[in-house]
Symmetry: D2
């Protein structure tokens, strides 16, 4: 059956030319072209609030996973351009949406009120756009050490939460996954929640999309390096990944520019419109700020330029920095602070049911 | 004569298609195409050291100024890719080169040993790539207040230096030029030296080029807004501007990408090679991090795409952020620190002849 | 009459042994000991809210000024131990109290809706406890540059506000008063509001007292150095000073400790109780973090130890740092952020009547 | 024998009234009073350089350990008031002294050139005086991940080094010792080196003493809480602790002040002179910046005041902050940066013999 599925998947890919890390997008492509499809074991749920639209894709079968090109699991995507506004009320609403997804994860993973959750803020605090994870950790209500010392009646409604921002491989010399595995063993954590800044394929997602998935983080999936995954398989406990795109690689927008201008060729233009590649984003934290090179130019995209020509042209524009150039909004400092507040508020609210939701935002810095 | 010159200048521009803020480049274009030209009143001086090449362009006549498309004055450009290396010895050498240019300015402006120099660190300390000026100010040996209290024999070899990092218009509500003019009047400064992070037209110049010019800073020259200049005319005293490119506008590299791919058309390709536009950079500090929009797509460049088509295509790639997206190296924090050390070391050395050059770098953080 | 007043004042001082910068305290001493006194031209107004007590002392006559040992003017003191709580709702209430005092100042100074106010954040951003002023400036809604460009109908309810954090003498080489005077002249400001971190005489006031006074800042008043005052006299326009104690000099608490233990002597103990010196605080910004030495041991206090003995003993405890040691709460970073939010919220609300009060706190970071 | 030693130790304590964490001081007290003593198994080695004096105390027997009141092990203390000078050359010399002690530890622990060393920067990066450990980690040449990928001929002279700054209990909810144990297991570290900011009993040691000991960190030794030790026993591999005092508790200097004034009583004065308590410092990292209360007033000291009286008096001076007030030099930011450079330079030099010593300081920021 494995084989058959592989064949199925390949056909899917060659049919749609889709390669995306966002489950929501993989599904959209199919729907848009063929009408509501019959993908077995893939359930889509959409919700619209005042400032956000939420899309939840549950991939519950191997067949569905292969058709979607994604691991089985649940993928929630909160899209909220209003996240970019420096407005506390909107942030509280969005924090509530994050809390809802996290609570779903807690229930789904059958974590009781005394289960210990370890929150991991991935990324490099020295580089503003990569500091999202560490900043969220800094805003969390960390309680594990307090609860150990408290009488049971005071613990009511407070869950034991631990948190760490371990830094990146270039700073520690240690795979982040190894650090987490070591700590999970020591604190006997029952689940891990990772927060990470992502590199987006699209400028329009910067600071406005929150992706929450129970498949964890699979660094370099498909790229070929051997970075350790941070997921249920590697850690032995449920793992939730929360990611927000904060940068686009410069090579990505150069490549996009080439697509756009190449679009003067009518055929190619049509293809460009069909391809949702700009809306996918990469969940490898190391591909953003770490030492790994950015994904190379998307050569899977059919177009007039050969893969090699395109690479040379991108080099021509970006030399001598090439791989290390990133694109961010000028006001990225403020954006990161706001998004960190939204996520930390959502987590605090989901974790500690004994605390009033409005109170939680009172105490955020 | 005005008219004639204008005609001359226009002919020059249409002939070479050159528009650049770097005097060295304006000259290079002419030399490369026509051999050593006869530009009256323009003197070029080149120097090569182990890690840097220095080019000094003196524009001493109105005719030369118009031909070059630059204000009359002296423009020194230190090009040193080694600036990007995190190596203290190289930084000391480059600091020495900065000192040499600053000393030339001090002599040229006939500033005696007791003349007060006000150093102004332009830019926004909240945005890493724009924090160069404030960081240099933080490393300076500021002495004005000490010298006022010291007996003459102790002042030997110490010049009165004052410094300020006033912030940007969006933070203060005040034109930076107004703030400087107010302070110059109070401290009776004899000269001003401005340090600024620049937006470059070329990735290759990021963190590797130092431009030093006695024409000051002319925000938005040619763009049409009314930002106050910071130069001898506006302040009444000599003004030296030291600038280093730390960002490229995202729209610039998208535009470059379009040029490169447009080059598949042989004619266009040839044009692209002729055009040195990627090596120019913009000396408007506000165009980098401030509130002013970035320069619009370089429509002066003749090419297959109309100005309007190109603008639409750039929008397509950069929406919804468009004007506010910047491109930087990931390691921009470290780069800014290193460049600030080089410039501060150079200034300290040029200002205080009584202090041993090696000592100055001892005390830099 | 001068002479007579001086005699009167001396009698007052020798009678009560009072020396304080807080008008409220000077008055309290008198009231506590003698019942409601007959101080001509001194009016006291007290107010109590849920989380704060406010005391306003107006000194309206020369006689009152001399009796109180303070410049004529209005001194409002908001005491709110709840300021130390990291609670947004309380902060909003306290911000409202600050706004009330600032509005009083605006009315009193007859500043119309188009009068330009320059806010000055005094202090050194590199030293956490001294960074209050710069942090407030960073949170302000600065509008002067926007209003200049807006049509009148859009300006409704928005006042032109400019702001600057000029740094301290050791960083700039320029008296802060000179910088302000220069900018006031350029922007034609109609009033100045200075924010400053203060050194307190008492640990109990750290982060919990806001002093607001229309007498400006008189650095080193009574100490004998010649630092330039920042007040109506020096700037030619009304000046409001807002100060919050964030540090205590180590020499102060050593001195206090000596008083306490000296109290075993019954006579001395009584004296110590009478002396309110621990509740006064020093309004010289430079005495906190700047280059000026801290006030020397309070030798005015009568006690068993001679002035010289006491100084030697303090030296014995604090060598070799002596003058530069400060006492702060460990969590001073968070305290400064909270207080800055309260003051910035109060200022924004007082300045811009067209903006809803709750909205203002929405946009504070 | 245990019992006998205990009796011996008690006699020692009651005889000398000594309680100190610095081995060098425990020994000095004995020598000063009685001439060179016969302490079995305690070896002292002193060295003097241009800017530092180094004292190494090796406690090699149980008897010596009990007499000294310290764990058996080696304690090196580098005293260098010049550390406080912002001078790079002196810092390099002191870095060399640190390297020497670290090399001794590497040899002593029989760590081969391929043994993995994990450096742990203890402390809270949000609180300037506690940020020493994290800052050192930020300056280290971390190589473990690079060496794994390099061919053997390139690894020559480079040791595999990993590093982490885990944060403090209040931020993570996890005992720092647990985090380290988890990581040690994952990376199969062969030794751990901890860097920590310490609370000193004496102002004179702030920023000028480096204590290096192979006994690790024993939080709250003798205080009675159950914080996990970070030493060979708890981790199973050799542990080196490097500590520098950066704060004094406010309660300490208040207590000192009481001692000094109490010294007017001749008997008490004599006692005060005998007592070296001000020169000891506390090696519990949590007692500095963490959640643990500071050590209570030194009641072991015989004096006129009862323990309870003294506590009340200290409260009187420090209310309402009491336990959380710390004393630091104003310029603590710069001090921490300088000390971090010295220690990081020393570690880099000791670790990587293939790199020239002067080169190492070239690359420090």
């Amino acid at each position: 059956m494995e084989k058959m599925l592989d064949a199925y998947q390949q056909e899917f890919h060659s049919k749609y030319g889709v390669r995306t890390d966002l489950a929501v997008e993989a599904h959209e492509v199919i729907v848009e072209r063929e009408g509501p499809p019959e993908i077995p074991g893939v359930i889509i749920d959409k919700e619209q609030t005042e400032h956000a639209s939420i899309c939840r894709v549950s991939i519950e079968s191997e067949v569905g996973a292969r058709m979607m090109g994604k691991e089985p699991g649940r993928y929630s995507t909160i899209e909220a351009p209003a996240l970019r506004q420096h407005n506390r009320e909107i942030h509280e609403e969005l924090g509530g949406l994050v809390a809802k997804e996290v609570k779903w994860f807690i229930e789904q993973s059958q974590l009781g009120p005394e289960a210990v959750i370890l929150v991991v803020g991935l990324g490099n605090w020295n580089a503003t756009p990569d500091a999202l994870g560490p900043k969220v950790v800094g805003e969390l209500m960390v309680t594990r050490h307090l609860i150990q010392l408290s009488p049971p009646e005071l613990r009511e409604g407070l869950r034991p939460v631990a948190a760490i921002a371990p830094g990146v491989l270039g700073l520690t010399g240690i795979e982040t996954g190894e650090i987490i595995r070591g700590i999970v063993g020591q604190v006997q954590a029952d689940a891990v929640i990772c927060i990470d800044a992502l590199a987006s394929r699209s400028v329009s997602r910067l600071g406005s999309t929150i992706q929450i998935s129970d498949t964890g983080i699979n660094p370099g999936s498909g790229v070929g390096n051997k970075r350790m995954a941070i997921n249920q398989e590697s850690l032995g406990i449920p793992v939730l990944a929360i990611g927000v795109p904060t940068v686009v690689h410069a090579s990505t927008i150069v490549s996009d520019a080439m697509d756009v201008i190449g679009g003067d060729d009518p055929d190619q233009k049509q293809m460009a419109e069909e391809l949702p590649q700009k809306t996918s984003f990469n969940v490898d934290p190391k591909a953003i700020m770490g030492t790994a090179p950015p994904a190379e130019p998307q050569a899977e995209t059919p177009q007039a330029l050969s893969r090699e020509q395109r690479r040379q042209m991108i080099n021509q524009v970006l030399e001598p920095y090439m791989g290390s150039l990133i694109v961010t909004p000028k006001e990225v400092d403020e954006l990161i602070n706001d998004v960190a507040n939204v996520i930390a508020g959502g987590l605090n609210s989901a974790f500690h049911e004994g605390i009033d939701y409005s109170e939680i935002f009172q105490y955020l810095s």
